[in-house]
């Protein structure tokens, strides 16, 4: 505990850079998954191959990917871009199948009815289909967020500043409190982001929280 109190500024600094590395890939994975999922759903054979590709992508061990990726995209191993691309790929691997499920969960009768009322295709997607896919999309984003926050620590091994540096450094110097602090801080950060996502979901999808209160 004394170690933690003495190094609060270090922990705070690492938390900040941890967040900065985690948030863009979460956002990128979410935004890119939407068109990819729509595309996947439009053809039966495409859906199967997209799902398979996604699972395979997630099966790639993270450390080798972090090391190999620079060779493919021409960045340095410790470059923030390298980390961001790798994390976005993992995020996509989780998010594309989730988004495909989300769009399939939308009642087709409702979509047909929206068309019949005179929604043009783009407006129907943005105002009807996307919000109705929202609850399942949110479930996907929550998994992506927690997974990404956890994966950022791998960068610590390569020397990219993040909460992962605490356990790399802790192991090297034999400071148990530092290792524990790294793990606890990562978990707390993941829980915090998850809670924020849930609150955001309740704010932008008010209809999901008022279910059940039927009139007599």
């Amino acid at each position: 505990m004394t170690w933690v109190l003495a190094n609060l500024d270090v922990i705070a600094g690492y938390t900040g850079s941890h967040l900065l590395q985690a948030l863009p890939p979460i956002l990128v994975a979410f935004l890119l998954s939407l068109p990819l999922a729509k595309l996947a759903n439009s053809r039966g054979w495409l859906r199967t191959s997209v799902t398979t590709t996604s699972s395979l992508m997630y099966a790639i061990p993270s450390l080798p990917l972090f090391v190999l990726l620079p060779g493919l995209i021409g960045t340095g191993v410790r470059s923030p871009l390298n980390i961001a691309v790798a994390l976005s790929l993992y995020g996509l691997a989780l998010m594309v199948p989730a988004a495909a499920d989300a769009f399939r969960s939308v009642n087709r009768e409702v979509l047909g009815s929206a068309t019949a009322q005179g929604y043009a295709p783009r407006a129907r997607f943005l105002q009807v289909e996307l919000p109705l896919a929202g609850p399942v999309l949110l479930a996907g984003v929550r998994v992506v967020a927690v997974s990404t926050i956890s994966l950022v620590t791998v960068g610590g091994v390569l020397g990219v500043p993040s909460l992962g540096m605490l356990f790399v450094d802790g192991v090297r110097r034999g400071i148990l409190a530092e290792i524990a602090a790294g793990i606890v801080a990562t978990v707390l950060l993941a829980l915090l982001i998850d809670a924020l996502l849930v609150m955001l979901g309740r704010a932008v999808m008010p209809w999901t929280r008022r279910q059940g209160a039927r009139t007599p």
């Binding site: 009768e109 009322q117 005179g118 929604y119 279910q211």
Partner: protein
């Protein structure tokens, strides 16, 4: 006026939904397309707002071929009411009702004021305005559906089995209110159902369809009952079961109307209270024979 001219609809894969259908629907008239599943009735109705385009033949509204009209604009000019699932589950009652006016660019405040009036017209408590569809009963959802269909004050109202998902008592109430509404509004209504009693109740004219959208008979309910075109129509309207052949039996000094199976269908109104009862015997016949 809505016209169907030799309309045919074939789906990829060879399913023939409609063979060759022609019908004229006059303005302010309510026409019910009635048939079993596979009769193509919903397909035909959806050709009016271009949810479905015919493979061949023409559908026109007031002389304009609908395929020459922009589908999105066309749909905004035609009211469309369907079963409960048609409401947008993520929009409140008020937002559902204002859907089409808002799409057409009416100011939100104006649309909302009008929506409140519509809620009153269709018998919805103003307290329900901010509820979501899932918080309403089936009957209330249908009322919202009707209000939404009327919100842009369309000349044409398409109704696709709108009361199919509610219980019989609520359905009867909704049918009665639709009749009253139509008396005031005089829309051109195309109504699709598989329930012949509903068809006879709500249609100025009724078109009975065989599979493939073939008209077995079209006419007023009275014409169809008085002179069924063939065995298919007789069996469809229940005339072959004796459900439509009524006779009067005298019980305790009152005239009881009984069908061919001996089921009492109602009491014959004395000539004096006929108007007050609004065809009481008539109404009962329908309930019992369904």
């Amino acid at each position: 006026m809505i016209g169907f001219e030799n309309v045919r609809k074939e789906y990829p894969g060879g399913t023939l939904a409609v063979q060759d259908f022609s019908l004229e629907i006059a303005s302010h008239e309510s026409v019910v397309l009635v048939g079993t599943s596979g009769s193509g009735k919903t397909t035909l109705m959806r050709m009016i707002n271009r949810m479905v385009d015919p493979t061949s033949g023409r559908v026109h509204i007031d002389g304009d071929d609908v395929t020459s009209l922009d589908p999105v604009q066309l749909r905004r000019s035609i009211g469309y009411v369907m079963q409960a699932s048609g409401l947008l589950p993520h929009r409140t009652v008020l937002d559902n009702i204002t859907t089409v006016p808002v799409l057409r660019g009416t100011a939100k405040r104006e649309a909302r004021t009008h929506a409140h009036e519509l809620m009153e017209i269709v018998g919805l408590d103003a307290a329900l305005a901010e509820r979501y569809p899932s918080q309403l009963s089936g009957g209330q959802q249908q009322r919202v559906g009707v209000a939404r269909g009327l919100a842009a004050d369309p000349n044409i109202l398409l109704m696709d089995e709108p009361f199919g998902a509610v219980d019989p008592i609520v359905r009867a109430e909704l049918q009665r209110e639709l009749q009253h509404l139509q008396r005031d509004l005089r829309k051109t209504i195309v109504f699709v159902t598989h329930d012949i009693d509903e068809a006879f109740l709500l249609g100025d004219r009724v078109a009975i369809l065989r599979p493939g959208g073939i008209i077995a008979q079209v006419g007023t309910p009275q014409e169809i009952l008085a002179d069924p075109a063939d065995d298919f129509v007789s069996s469809f309207v229940g005339a072959d079961r004796g459900a439509r052949t009524l006779h009067v039996e005298r019980v305790d000094g009152r005239d009881v109307v009984v069908d061919a199976d001996g089921r009492p269908a109602g009491v014959l109104a004395a000539s004096g209270d006929r108007s007050a009862g609004e065809g009481a015997a008539d109404g009962r016949t329908r309930e019992r024979s369904s």
